[in-house]
Symmetry: C2
Subunit: 215 residues, 2 copies
């Protein structure tokens, strides 16, 4: 019996994109099938974890053979909701927001930056790498017109909570927060955070404790 029917654990969800990236590489190499061992090596985890993770999607492997790369990639894309693009809006047209708008990796992986938004009216109307800057108040309109489901917060920390409120208010149900601040969102809204300096602080800890601990 497969685990397909059960809720997929968060830790597994966070690894699926890594597997998908590995599968994309295998597709480019025209590799037809892949073992859990090989996929584990590519994804930087162990084989048991790969098999357990994939079992949550369904029984898509063949014993004695491995997984069909193309079929598995398709099933995984479907599960992740990556069979179509997700236009995103970046809130905050400062340094970080502009840099993110310019970062090619988003569009490349299915998340085109459809709009930039800022509270500063002096910035409205500008084009940042081809993306127009709108006023924060335009969020609801932009959401409808451009089909935006994900908002990226790239403002200073003090503004982050207000922006999160505005995004939720506009009906944008997924938020990626780059501001170094803890924010709360309404029930039903998904929230993830990326804190660039925080990662360095964690490295600093292990650097300081190098003798006694690895990571």
């Amino acid at each position: 019996m497969s685990d397909r029917s059960r809720r997929i654990p968060e830790a597994t969800v966070a690894r699926l994109p890594v597997y998908l990236r590995s599968l994309a590489e295998l597709l480019e190499d025209k590799t037809a099938t892949v073992s859990s061992e090989r996929l584990a090596e590519m994804a930087g985890v162990n084989a048991a974890k790969v098999r357990k993770d994939l079992s949550y999607l369904g029984s898509y492997g063949t014993r004695g053979v491995g997984y069909d790369v193309e079929y598995l990639a398709f099933q995984m894309s479907r599960e992740l909701g990556l069979t179509h693009d997700w236009p995103v809006v970046i809130v905050g047209a400062g340094n970080l927001g502009q840099a993110l708008a310019n970062y090619g990796g988003f569009k490349e992986r299915g998340f085109p930056v459809a709009a930039l938004v800022d509270a500063d009216r002096a910035k409205v109307g500008q084009l940042v790498h081809g993306v127009p800057v709108h006023h924060l108040d335009e969020l609801p309109v932009l959401k409808e017109r451009l089909g935006i489901a994900i908002g990226i917060i790239a403002t200073p920390a003090v503004a982050a909570q207000d922006v999160a409120d505005a995004l939720a208010e506009a009906g944008i149900g997924s938020i990626l927060n780059f501001a170094p601040a803890v924010i709360s969102v309404p029930e039903g809204t998904s929230l993830r955070k990326v804190d660039l300096a925080l990662e360095l602080q964690i490295l600093s800890f292990y650097q300081e404790h190098r003798d006694t601990e690895g990571v």
Copy 2:
């Protein structure tokens, strides 16, 4: 008995910077003491977790009163190795590398960008927001001269493993990888990763499964 002597769990280490940020806010407000309850609220976790986490650092609280903000902040900074700056080198002077060099949050939190490095000799000698671009081969020299202990990989995915090798070779023991690739590092080197698009892919999953699951 406190847990001070024991190894601090990874999950706890990852939260310490969040607490430290909250303590910094309290210091600005001239708040003298803080309860686990209040700190939990600020850090977006629950109070039991705060107390458990802090107990790994030592018994720095006072029953019936709470924690002395300044003293706790000091102890935490010391534990995290944040009592001095950590100059970093960014490898890759493309879009992402330049954006990161320009991101004020690093210097502000004790990680000044001391140098940029690139494999492309055409970029060498340029100044990016005041930071000079050197050739990749200069890594060992820069490491010694500038006291660099942390390297940030901001290259395309294909170059990431080579860069990681070069960083390790140069004796840089902590690596933060922004390239969307799995890389391996020698025993004793600390590695963390930030994959911008991956976070969006995770949000996409929960967006797609909105009816049945929250996050």
